[in-house]
């Protein structure tokens, strides 16, 4: 690591979000305004979908997203939302409860089914998703390619952070690094990772199996 200079921007700067007046939106939903419902959906649908997918997988995803909206809108219409300004927090709580509930019901289902027949059923909802498996393999291959291009010392730094879960303060102290050097190493590795990933996505030949 020759330089202390950290790239100005490691990722595209997120845009400025339109600040929503949550209390007003809640009031409009409470009054049964269809446009307000659409607005609520437009604001939260992607995020809710993301968290459900991340925690529960793709099975019945649309139904689960719909259930979350039903709970939120029912609560608003029934006047149960005590702090309309905290709508985001309420939506998060609903999503978390839905996730916990789905996991709980999957567990119960496994228990019940197992009582019927211990041998014939494989009652796992952790089914292998071929697409995810391929993506995970590809991700690991790209990371290996990145690792093959860094020095042994840099690899040790990455290993301490990602595998041994040491804090950056501890790593910097042990390895005699400045905070910027540490960040630079990670951002370079991340940039290389993104670059190889993009080339792969664009169909440009990348030999993932052999080191550079």
């Amino acid at each position: 690591m020759a330089s202390d200079a950290v790239p100005e921007s490691e990722a595209p700067r997120p845009e400025v979000l339109q600040v929503t007046d949550w209390a007003k939106l809640v009031q409009r939903i409470h009054a049964g305004e269809p446009a307000a419902m659409e607005e609520l959906y437009a604001i939260f649908a992607k995020g809710i979908r993301y968290f459900l997918l991340r925690n529960l997988g793709p099975e019945e995803l649309d139904d689960k997203v719909h259930d979350c909206f039903l709970i939120v809108t029912q609560a608003i219409r029934n006047g149960e939302l005590r702090e309309p300004d905290r709508l985001m927090g309420y939506v998060r709580t609903v999503v978390k409860r839905q996730i916990a509930g789905s996991i709980d019901s999957a567990v119960q289902q496994r228990r019940t089914r197992a009582e019927f027949d211990d041998t014939l059923l494989t009652v796992s909802d952790w089914r292998e998703d071929p697409e995810r498996t391929v993506m995970a393999r590809q991700r690991a291959d790209i990371a290996r390619k990145v690792l093959s291009s860094v020095s042994r010392r840099d690899r040790e730094i990455l290993n301490r952070f990602y595998v041994q879960e040491q804090t950056q303060e501890q790593i910097c102290a042990d390895m005699g690094l400045s905070y910027n050097q540490f960040r630079l190493l990670k951002s370079r590795a991340k940039a290389r990772f993104g670059e190889i990933g993009k080339r792969l996505a664009a169909g440009v030949g990348v030999n993932l199996r052999k080191p550079a």
Binding site: A114, T122, A136
Partner: protein, 210 residues
Amino acid sequence: MDLNFHGTEDQLEQYALGRLAESDMTVLEEHLLVCAVCLERLDQMQDFSVGMREALIADGVAPARENTVQRNTLSWWSRFGLPEWLGKPGFALVLAGAAVVLAVGLSVTGNTNIAPTASLQLTAMRGTMPYSLPAKEIHLTLIDAPQTGGPFRVEVVDSTGKSQWAGSILATAGGAQLDIRKTLSQGDYFVRLYNSEGALVHEYGFRVRS
């Protein structure tokens, strides 16, 4: 809350690795619910950080095995005070044959070679199941387990729901850890984490296969 609180790269990375403090997590998750750009950033961060961790773990295992093999080959004869010519091709062939007979004998009597320990890092995300070779003891790290509170009750069940291991663990900053000191046969297993009120907090899956 400021709607335009976009998580920093460090925060997103800590979140992706399941290491973000509970206090920061609430704010970040609320923001992620409404910010598509940060979801995209999180996806990229997740791919990178999880990919690096997997590759580093895989990378760390292979050289260690190579070193062991090499060290044993170089020092075996002298360690037991035996002449080096025992390592010559003719004798090596005889010894290799004897080793095959011994291995067959062991497998017939059921004394298969099982690794002493294996370790896995688990996240509660659905999708691919991490797997381990059969081992006498499995060390599990539940990466996204709560970092505070506890103790938590843990139960490990097989795919039929039959309990294989139970115990309690404490939350730590690097994820909760448990050691299963028994040989699990090949198959799918689920680790269930319950809080002090008996509510299920997380469920994790892993597989044992040869």
